[in-house]
């Protein structure tokens, strides 16, 4: 799948560039030299770069100028890198952001959390 504009109505055909291979979540993709990770993934039809760490709702490109940190991914073992500012390099290993554990929010039902809270309050009262 290639969603690049190869023949622009005003700018004309784009010069053939060098192609690079990189991996996103273990799958190989092709990028053109000089493309950012976000642009290359978009050209390959991938818009979901990570999920919200707590809720798991999808996140992708938002500002595309490095301002909003919505497109942060893990690149070559470095977490929190902005895909919209990082140029693709040959063999780059990119991983999408996943849901992180929330051990302090384990209680799913409001009842359970209330119980936990009352337990916590009781404990604090005792320690005073």
């Amino acid at each position: 799948m290639d969603r690049r504009i190869l023949n622009h109505p005003v700018l004309g055909p784009s010069a053939p560039g060098k192609t690079l291979t990189f991996h996103f979540d273990g799958k190989p993709y092709t990028a053109m030299q000089g493309e950012t990770v976000a642009a290359a993934l978009l050209a390959n039809g991938i818009r979901r770069l990570r999920v919200h760490e707590e809720s798991g709702s999808p996140r992708g490109l938002y500002c595309n100028i490095g301002h909003c940190f919505e497109c942060r991914v893990t690149i070559d073992d470095q977490p929190g890198v902005r895909a919209c500012l990082t140029l693709v390099k040959e063999g780059m290993k990119v991983f999408s952001g996943k849901v992180l554990p929330a051990p302090l929010k384990q209680a799913k039902s409001p009842d359970a959390s209330e119980k936990q809270n009352s337990h916590f309050i009781a404990e604090r009262a005792e320690s005073r």
Binding site: S57, C68, F69, E70
Partner: protein, 88 residues
């Protein structure tokens, strides 16, 4: 055009409805609204939603308070500890 489930703060996933509810319930200042909902406390440091939160409060008839504004705390943009520590 504006719906209740429109996400205002994308980092902390706070919706317009949640902000309006909180404002209606507590009549908060911008800073209190931020502390109650976590809107503007995410990775981007509020640089995306700060103006939206302020606009929301202004539309609700509250003058932006200069006494307790939505602050800009250092570092003004997210940097890694390794960068601060001078390590590669």
């Amino acid at each position: 055009m504006f719906t209740q489930d429109m996400v205002i703060c994308r980092c902390e996933e706070v919706s317009l409805g949640k902000l309006m509810q909180t404002f209606a319930a507590h009549g908060c200042s911008a800073r209190e609204l931020k502390l109650r909902t976590r809107a503007g406390m995410g990775t981007c440091g509020g640089r995306t939603c700060r103006s939206l939160i302020l606009a929301l409060l202004q539309e609700s008839g509250q003058e932006p308070s200069h006494a307790v504004p939505l602050g800009y705390q250092p570092p003004v943009r997210p940097v890694s500890f390794s960068l601060l520590g001078g390590r590669e």
